[in-house]
């Protein structure tokens, strides 16, 4: 699996796809942080842009993993899990490299907005968990792993609680009360699933170590373990095509 992982990284670099991530990591501090002086907004920009890069990189990596030439490598591996794990690790490493460049570029372009080293280091564990969750979630949303129905369901889990308030404003009394109540219930239920991630994101901006943050990280790790288990199960069953 390590050889496959190394080749994925080799291919990603030699095909120059990595320039998108690294270029973005340089451009973001130059364009968004150069005029800032606030360390909190720097940490928020880092978190959001790294998460966005994680989603982008994972979608590209999933597309690469779905190409017949790469699926043919799967025939040389003992299990599908090794294959998907190699691609997940590769996505994580690429995002991490972009994050390092992002931090270095901020140091160069926006030294005033650069947070204290202790603050930055304290925000790192939460950010790493958030990146991994983003990568796993995005992988679950790709055709490589999930069927269209599975992807739609998963998308609803994100989209409904995040956009519900705006959707409600567009639907003035068009639906009967009981249907609206049902939508509210679904939105709340999905919102509960998203809540730990939102809290973890807040933790990357204002990092602190206490019982609450520790519990939050634990809950999030459990959710992440559940997501990885779903990913492994879905991918195991997914029909692939070379011919």
């Amino acid at each position: 699996m390590m050889r496959l992982f190394r080749w994925i990284i080799d291919d990603y670099i030699s095909s120059q796809r990595i320039l998108v991530e690294w270029g973005a990591a340089i451009a973001i501090p130059y364009l968004l942080l150069a005029s800032h002086t606030d360390a909190a907004s720097t940490l928020a920009t880092w978190s959001l842009s790294t998460l966005a890069l994680a989603l982008y990189t994972t979608s590209v990596i999933a597309d690469i993993a779905e190409q017949p030439i790469n699926i043919s490598r799967l025939l040389h591996l003992p299990s599908r899990r090794q294959y998907i794990a190699a691609y997940l690790f590769a996505a994580f490493l690429i995002v991490l490299s972009a994050y390092v460049i992002l931090v270095a570029a901020t140091f160069i372009f926006a030294p005033v907005a650069f947070p204290a080293w202790q603050l930055w280091l304290a925000s790192l564990p939460a950010l790493i968990v958030l990146i991994i969750t983003g990568i796993v979630m995005m992988m679950l949303l790709t055709p490589l792993v999930a069927s269209p129905l599975q992807r739609l369901t998963l998308l609803a889990v994100f989209a409904i609680p995040l956009t519900w308030d705006r959707v409600i404003a567009l639907l003035p009394d068009m639906l009967p009360g009981n249907i609206m109540a049902m939508f509210h219930a679904v939105s709340t239920a999905f919102g509960i699933l998203l809540w730990p991630s939102m809290q973890l994101y807040a933790l990357t901006i204002e990092p602190h170590l206490d019982t609450q943050s520790f519990s939050l990280a634990t809950i999030h790790m459990l959710i992440l373990a559940g997501l990885i288990s779903i990913l492994a199960r879905w991918y195991q069953r997914r029909p692939l095509t070379i011919a």
């Binding site: 069953r237 029909p239 095509t241 011919a243």
Partner: protein, 321 residues
């Protein structure tokens, strides 16, 4: 012993509804059918890519997933990395199973030799022609010396002379005790490759052809000549019923094809100038055409004939043991 056994196979979201097929170990097996009949889906299923374990699929006598490296697959969909060299790509693929030792080099060189790619070993794949890329893809499938190679339309989009070279390479592979399964829509005259053929239509195998059937398939050959003298005309027409002679053309069908050498001797004897000798039909393409009328084809080449033969031979072996 059959290497692949498919029994009442149905694959969801593909045209395959009920396929029963037994592919003997070490044979070259053709799956012939029109476009969209599910040939590729069958190959994917044989490669173990269907996800869920499909009931009715057994490889090398086992229903478990195939051993890593035991199956090679070549399809026109495979796009090779342009920046790598042939040897580099093969080495990378081989080292997925083995550490980088002497055996890796030997295996890569062997795959290159089998696909006649010696002069392109160090070339960047991006600089190669489609035909050479297709051979690199074949070498990639062969580099781990798999027990079975699955080929989907190996000659599609190739020029006629390139198709012949590819068929020649595949003929050489057939002699190396490898199970070869080729899916084709019959656009290339490669019937000489096959030990057996199954015709796929409507999600089922509608006909099976044994080696004898393949040999006996109807062929038509046309000889274009200068004007044929009356004496030669009469001589040729008398040879057998499968020969149609006109002033400048001779068409051989059925039994007439077997008299080709004799006809050529007559033409040479009368000093008739021969412009060209060309096949006028592709038996595989004819099979695909005939698959539109499954009842007729099934009557001519009954299904389960090969299966029964295999069962009988297995039973004989068991009795002998």
């Amino acid at each position: 012993m059959h290497y692949v056994s498919l029994t009442n196979l149905r694959i969801a979201r593909t045209p395959i509804t009920d396929v029963t097929l037994h592919i003997p170990e070490g044979s070259c097996f053709g799956i012939v059918g029109a476009s969209g009949t599910g040939k590729s889906a069958l190959l994917n299923a044989m490669a173990g890519l269907s996800g869920r374990a499909l009931p009715g699929v057994s490889l090398a006598g086992s229903t478990a997933a195939p051993r890593p490296g035991s199956i090679g697959i070549v399809t026109p969909r495979i796009i090779l990395p342009a920046h790598m060299t042939t040897l580099g790509l093969l080495t990378r693929q081989r080292t997925l199973l083995l550490n980088g030792d002497g055996q890796v080099d030997d295996d890569c060189q062997r795959a290159i030799r089998w696909c006649a790619l010696e002069q392109y070993a160090q070339s960047a794949i991006g600089t190669l022609s489609l035909f050479n890329k297709r051979r690199v893809a074949l070498a990639l499938a062969l580099v781990s010396k798999p027990a079975m190679v699955l080929l989907d339309e190996p000659t599609i989009d190739l020029a006629a002379h390139e198709q012949q070279v590819m068929i020649d390479i595949l003929e050489n592979l057939r002699d190396r005790n490898m199970t070869i399964v080729i899916a084709t829509r019959g656009n290339t005259p490669m019937e000489s490759l096959f030990d057996q053929i199954a015709v796929l239509s409507g999600g089922k195998i509608i006909a099976e052809l044994s080696a004898q059937h393949i040999r006996d398939m109807q062929r038509t050959i046309m000889i274009r000549t200068d004007e044929i003298p009356t004496a030669a005309y009469e001589h040729i027409a008398a040879i057998n019923n499968g020969i149609i002679v006109t002033r400048r053309n001779i068409v051989l069908t059925g039994e007439g094809v077997r008299s080709l050498a004799q006809i050529l001797q007559v033409l040479l004897h009368y000093s008739v100038h021969i412009f060209c000798i060309e096949p006028r039909n592709h038996p595989l393409a004819d099979l695909v055409m005939q698959a539109r009328y499954p009842v007729v084809l099934a009557h001519r080449y009954p299904v389960r004939l090969l299966t029964n033969t295999i069962r009988e031979s297995n039973a004989t072996e068991e009795v002998a043991t």
